[in-house]
Amino acid sequence: MKNSPLHIRSLFSHRQHPIKILGYTTKSFWLLLIPLARSLIAMRFDIATWLKGWWLDILVILVIFAYAVLRWFFVTFKIEKDHIEANTGYFGLCKTSIPYSKLCTICASQGVLYRPFRAYKVYFDTNSGSRASSDIVLSLKKSDYERLFAYFPMDEKGRAKFTHAPERKSVLIFSLLFSSTLSGVILFTTLIIEVSRIVGRELEERFISTVNEYMQKFAIKLPRYVVAFAMVIILSWLYSFMINVFRHWSFTVTRQGDKFIIKSGFVSKRYHIISAEKINYIDIEQSFLMKIFNICSVHIHCSGYGKGRREIAVLIPITTFSQVQSSLSLLMPETPIPDLMIRPNKKDIKRFLFVPSLLCLIVPIADFVLIRLFPGWREVIRFSAIMCVIPFAWLLAVKIAAGFVTGTGEEKKWITLSYCQVYRFHYIIVNKNKISKVTYFQTPFQRRADVCNLRINTFGESICCHSVKHLPLKEAEKFVDDCGILS
């Protein structure tokens, strides 16, 4: 009996925080608890009758919980001086050992549920393994978290450090620009489904009735489906925006020695420690609107950063294009921004416009044909055509700009790849040593004009390809040879 506290202590040492047990239960675990609690209240806490009537449900919950406890029990880890060792997976059968020198990113996050229990979720990532998930994920107690992060100090005394903390309005603009309706639709639908599963269809019905009310208000001027469509888009986008704001609020990035320390989050706090030499490339990203206003967002590609749900691998959320050089010279002094040396010939700029022009032409033709075939659906077809033509016309404008900014350049050991991918402009700065493959791609039309798409694969956990379009073939070949990209 004397040793029992020691036994308890040894049970918890080298194991995750007990809060993780909840994480190991099934997703529907809470759904089972609600009717049980409701029935207990209805029976005025008559435990005996409750047990008699609900024994099967209670048994199922106990089995689920026991299974979660077993999973928690078998997952163990060791934090050593130079490596971390973890027995993960079902019953701790997968033994993984990662030397700290091989780690690209360590991310610690503390969500709403974890904060009161002083627990941290820590993600370990290397350049290998799955792209979708981290190599090791552990829920650590504060003592273990502190022991681990003692090997990765956030502030090394005596070493110069530079911190970039964007203003809150910059974070708001960043969230505004990087909010996507599509991801919002997915998140919003998931939210509605999950909530309706827990509290029944009440909330869903209330939402639909609110939509109906608004629809009736606007129905005098607009058709109902237009209002419904607009509401879905606006709400989804707002939801995506809120998620981005919460995720990137209080964003700071610090460079000290060979590592970056990135802190962000409002509800869920996140800390990333990124090894500078493991960064595969820097991506100065712009949308067409950002290009017009001469602002950009600097992202980095490093295994583990930006892997989490709804996380953007950002280094500088928003800055002006002219300030990038000065910000990067402080955060990444070893990285120049090479100017473009090879660009598409002026006569080849029309090639950028082929696909968007075709799409813009197809829509009115399809609209004309469909209205002739289904005159009763005229209103819906016309509305759909207008909705389709807007993104295609926007794409045409984007591709006109792309024709003038596409190209590639070199300085010292660094290569620049400037290209436009659908609606986004990318200005990639990559070290030559981080390039694994070069492809010259030609369509029959390009072959006749002796131009090519130069595709460059950079290091990463998954296939990572950057396509610089319509470059003169001979110049591209000479550039690759002269720069010694593959040597």
Binding site: N127, S128, N280, I435, S436, K437, V438, T439, Y440, F441, Q442, T443, P444, R447, N457, T458, F459, G460, S462, I463, C464, C465, V480, I485, L486, S487
Partner: protein, 148 residues
């Protein structure tokens, strides 16, 4: 730098498979679609026309236009008839090699190699068994010896 080409045995084997598939599909059409003659003849025409195009235009062109080169520091692949590609991979970035050797591949030449690098891969198809073994051995030797 040693150059490799897809094996002619694979081309002949694929021609045989396509011919067998066309015969099988024709039989199915005659057996089950004889009541809708027009559809039956259209489908049979499509199968044989497609098969002919594949056997005597598409596949020979594909085999003629594809080549692989392996040197001490660069792996390259030229391919494509309509859309041509020239892929060059830095030897040093190769992580591992996956070789798929099928049964009877001495006669069918259905041997494939996937060269996996960080952030990219190259697929070498329809190699003769000897070539596949030679390439795999050379690449594995280089990875082990860390020539790259």
């Amino acid at each position: 730098m040693k150059k490799y080409y897809p094996s002619k045995a694979a081309l002949n084997f694929l021609r045989l498979v396509i011919a067998a598939a066309a015969i099988g599909l024709t039989y199915v059409c005659f057996r089950y679609l004889h009541s809708i003659e027009i559809l039956m003849y259209i489908l049979v025409g499509i199968f044989w026309g497609g098969g002919f195009a594949l056997c005597f235009i598409f596949l020979p062109l594909y085999f003629a236009k594809t080549s692989y080169s392996i040197s001490s520091d660069i792996i390259s692949k030229h391919s494509g008839m309509i859309f041509t590609t020239r892929q060059l991979m830095r030897g040093g970035s190769v992580q591992y090699v996956t070789a798929v050797i099928t049964p009877f591949s001495r006669f069918t030449a259905l041997n494939f190699i996937v060269i996996n690098a960080l952030g990219g891969k190259i697929f070498l198809a329809f190699l003769s068994k000897k070539d596949a073994a030679e390439i795999t051995a050379a690449l594995n030797r280089a990875i082990e010896k860390k020539e790259w």
